[in-house]
Symmetry: C2
Subunit: 160 residues, 2 copies
């Protein structure tokens, strides 16, 4: 039973490795980010997306899609960031339904500080394990996976 192992399909191996690696990595990186900067992994991602956005602000719904969170998830997450003063609300002149999340100066500063140690953590994780070309391959392959909930949903729909 030890040597005569059943040959499992590679997609299963990929998937299990994926799950375990994610759990292990996020646990560590998340704890590190929380300990040193009081931020969640998603907090960080949100600040990052805002910093890259036009005018440092995004609609909550777009933000939710970027970080793969539900609408309510984004509401709660931004609640925290607003309390900390890292983002603020902004209303939309042309559509009263939307409210923007805007990165504050304080938020940008926080991101900058957090990035220093967080990026180092990521580097240590990936650069120590892969060569340059392997990283390229990995990035390319991973990018092909569904990056939004919608992409994912369609692929598991056709049933009968």
């Amino acid at each position: 039973m030890a040597t005569r192992t059943i040959k499992r399909p590679q997609q299963i191996d990929s998937w299990v490795s994926f799950l375990r690696a994610h759990a292990a990595i996020t646990r560590e990186l998340s704890a590190q980010l929380q300990r040193e900067h009081g931020l969640t992994l998603n907090d960080y991602e949100v600040l990052l997306h805002l910093s890259h956005a036009e005018g440092g602000r995004m609609r909550r719904v777009d933000l939710a899609q970027q970080v793969v969170l539900t609408a309510s998830g984004i509401t709660r997450l931004l609640e925290g960031l607003e309390r900390s003063g890292f983002v603020c609300k902004e209303t939309c002149a042309s559509d009263a339904r939307v409210s923007y999340a805007k990165l504050t100066g304080e938020g940008a500063a926080k991101l900058k500080v957090a990035a220093a140690t967080h990026l180092r953590g990521i580097d240590e994780l990936f650069l120590s394990r892969y060569s340059g070309s392997e990283l390229t391959t990995l990035a390319e392959l991973l990018a092909r996976l569904p990056l939004t909930g919608a992409d994912c949903k369609t692929s598991s729909e056709p049933c009968s």
Copy 2:
């Protein structure tokens, strides 16, 4: 600003893709598993590990390591599986501290049923996106990532 994008290091691209893909995929697969079988992704993984284990049972601590959960996480997870009758406790004769989690017949049956649709979901996700050789590459690369919390921790420790 659209064309002249800043070149980001590949480990960051890999990491962000990794995060987003995980969020999107687990949200869908988890919801599917929950809807159709009332199981969590981790519930499923635990049942799976038990089914592969010698005698269908494992120490809680080893189980925790396999699915990358804390000791308390495993306690809570098994609580639910025990209530559902899919696993049961077993004491260890030689060490009174350890208690085994043992797969019941009902649990094995549940796993078998759940596997049918769950594996199909995974297949649809991966097989539609990668060729055979790409899957091999992906599985190999992913397997190199830390698969336990300890593996992960060591790599981010050396600081000053």
